[in-house]
């Protein structure tokens, strides 16, 4: 049901979008179409641990080769386009597609939604969104195509948001605007998020910039618990299909936001996918995942910003009807400082991430603890170009590595050089 429903759903949004695009130059220039996008060419200088992308236990997007040697890579890290069709003055359709050298399909859909946003006529207004879009968690991924203005790699929290979270449903928001601040309260109902938690449990936290498309499968290491006959999660595929509907139960979140003219922003969300964690479709288990997250950002002085975010939650899976097989508490937090001057931006981010394994399933050790430091320098020679050099250092201790004869504790370094070219058409 999952893939088919997603295809139908994407087709619906895309047709709304195409109606908009196709009717170009109709009465009064509406609907109108805007396309913005970016190309990201990347050089990566990796450490030796094998990346999770290659079914290893590394936390970064690019890691060492199969023989345990470091690598120098040149890759198309991302080609993304965000197309917005204004159907009326208040109603628009957005389709965000991406291509990169690591994803399953040549092109995948990251977001596809329609948005109703009438001009405010008083202090209180409403906004509606329906389709597939990111829940309002990140104050880090605020730029075009969910990229970060600060770094190449997202924090552990927002890396996971980009991988396993997507609101595939509808969100309604009430917005109150005063003279000096505006506040919003949003509630959403969604489906297709039942596998959420599997990647976080079986791979752990990661730090990178590759968000999953709606049709993506994210690789898992060949863990012994997936073995049919002997494992505690028999039959789990070797990759997570994050946006599947498995139990026909609706998930919810409630989110609040505050933007103040004095320059600070606050966000809070409580998320519960309400999944029936006893459901298995032959390839993928459903996980009951709930968490709270808060974030804050402010300008400390002219040109100096601070962004902080924290998340804590729990995910459980019960492949055997009699007991919970996997029960993990997860938490992470980061602080990011960023200084801008002229065409330059220098940012530093420190973070911690943690998974506590509460169950006693012997073949499923998921506990981990880690820290990471990211330093990034951005130079923008022109408004349509961005050059970034980033150094990422991750220290992590993960129990399952020992089952593969590796050291539990591993340290990784990744240096990336990114050249981004932006384009727009309207």
């Amino acid at each position: 049901m999952g893939a088919l429903a997603r295809a139908v759903f994407s087709a619906l949004t895309c047709s709304a979008f195409c109606i908009g695009a196709g009717a170009l130059h109709a009465d009064d220039d509406l609907p109108s179409l805007t396309i913005k996008g970016l190309l990201d060419g990347r050089l990566a200088f990796t450490d030796t641990p094998r990346s999770w992308e290659d079914k290893g236990f590394g936390k970064t997007r690019y890691g060492g080769d199969a023989t345990g040697d470091h690598r120098e890579l040149a890759r198309l890290a991302e080609a993304a386009a965000v197309m917005q069709a204004h159907l009326t003055w208040d109603l628009s359709a957005v389709v965000h597609i991406t291509a990169n050298s690591q994803q399953r399909h040549a092109v995948d859909v990251v977001e596809a939604y329609v948005q109703y946003k009438p001009a405010p006529t008083g202090n209180l207004g409403v906004r509606l969104k329906a389709g597939a879009f990111f829940p309002p968690i990140s104050l880090e991924n605020t730029n075009l195509a969910w990229t970060s203005p600060y770094t190449i790699s997202s924090s552990a929290i927002n890396t996971w948001v980009g991988e396993e979270l997507r609101t595939i449903g509808a969100e309604a928001s009430a917005v109150y605007r005063s003279d000096t601040w505006d506040a919003s309260l949003s509630a959403a109902l969604y489906g297709f998020n039942d596998p959420t938690g599997s990647l976080l449990t079986w791979r752990g936290w990661a730090i990178h910039d590759r968000e999953a498309g709606l049709f993506e499968r994210l690789p898992l290491a060949p863990l012994p618990n997936f073995k049919v006959g002997s494992g505690s999660a028999p039959g789990q595929a070797g990759a997570v299909d994050p946006f599947k509907e498995l139990d026909d139960r609706i998930g919810v979140y409630i989110a609040g936001g505050l933007n103040h003219d004095d320059g600070y922003k606050l966000r809070a969300i409580y998320y519960d996918n309400r999944a029936n964690n006893r459901v298995f479709d032959g390839r993928q288990y459903a996980w009951h995942t709930r968490f709270g997250a808060v974030s804050a950002a402010t300008d400390l002085t002219e040109g100096l910003e601070v962004v902080a975010q924290g998340m804590a939650g729990r995910t459980t899976m019960a492949s055997f009807p009699t007991h919970t097989v996997a029960d993990n508490d997860f938490a992470s937090a980061f602080v990011l400082l960023s200084h801008t001057w002229d065409q330059h931006r220098l940012s530093g981010r420190a973070e911690i991430f943690d998974i506590n394994d509460n169950d006693h399933t012997p073949d499923d050790p998921n506990a981990e603890h880690g820290t990471a430091l990211t330093v990034s320098y951005v130079y923008r020679p022109t408004p349509t170009q961005r050059l970034t050099i980033e150094a990422l250092h991750v220290n992590s201790n993960r129990d399952v590595r020992a089952r593969f004869g590796q050291s539990r504790r591993q340290s990784e370094d990744l240096v990336q050089l990114s050249y981004r070219l932006f384009f727009s058409w309207e």
Partner: protein
């Protein structure tokens, strides 16, 4: 939104009368220096003089609030109550201008190219403008009950000229001033002379119009 026609003609007639009256009576000037309370010059502060015990004549003036390069220009536009303000869209794309301020609540749907629409502001007070498509856009129209007004330059200076001799209440407004720190003073304007006025405003943190996509890449 009100198309101006009769109102403008009426205002224009009054203006000619007023101008005749002002020219006949001897006129002076008010020179003002507006600083913050820590001494820095403040630009975009509106200084206006309201005649005491006499009605203020309506003086027609052309006022423009331009949308260009995904910004409003000017950031602060002082106008006399009754003024029809033109909103030309000089961008190739659409703007959806709105205000829900008590002094004027309106919505303008401006297509790209050269579309201009006109709004008359007849109630005194602050009108905060936004664009529903471009969240970075912000500007203020400040509606005053007098034709004697202007806004300060980069040096915090402004001159109100052709102010007829008489008694005035001089007031200052700035979008960033702290509530409760309003400044006003009684001032006698002499014929053929310059009357000086100084004020120090207490400002909140700087609130200015953001550049489009100021943070980094163009936002969507």
């Amino acid at each position: 939104m009100v198309r101006f026609g009769a109102a403008r003609r009426f205002g224009f007639g009054l203006g000619i009368l007023a101008f005749g009256w002002a020219a006949a009576a001897a006129a002076g000037t008010i020179t003002a220096q507006i600083n913050s309370d820590d001494g820095a010059a403040i630009s975009d502060a509106v200084v206006y003089a309201v005649p005491v015990g006499a009605p203020a004549p309506l003086k027609p003036s052309k006022a423009l609030m331009i949308q260009e390069n995904q910004q409003f220009n000017p950031f602060v536009l002082p106008v006399q109550a009754g003024t029809a303000v033109e909103f030309p869209n000089r961008d190739s794309f659409r703007h959806h201008v709105y205000s829900f301020s008590p002094a004027k609540s309106f919505e303008l749907k401006l297509f790209g190219g050269t579309e201009t629409q006109i709004v008359t502001f007849d109630k005194e007070g602050v009108v905060a403008l936004g664009c529903n498509i471009h969240d970075n856009m912000l500007a203020y129209i400040y509606v005053v009950p007098t034709p004697y007004f202007a806004k300060t330059d980069e040096r915090g200076q402004v001159t109100l000229s052709d102010v007829p001799a008489g008694n005035y209440t001089v007031k200052v407004w700035h979008p960033n001033q702290k509530a409760g720190s309003e400044q006003k003073a009684a001032l006698a304007v002499a014929a053929d002379g310059a009357t000086a006025y100084k004020a120090a405003l207490t400002l909140k943190r700087d609130r200015k119009q953001k550049k489009p996509g100021a943070k980094d890449e163009t936002e969507y």
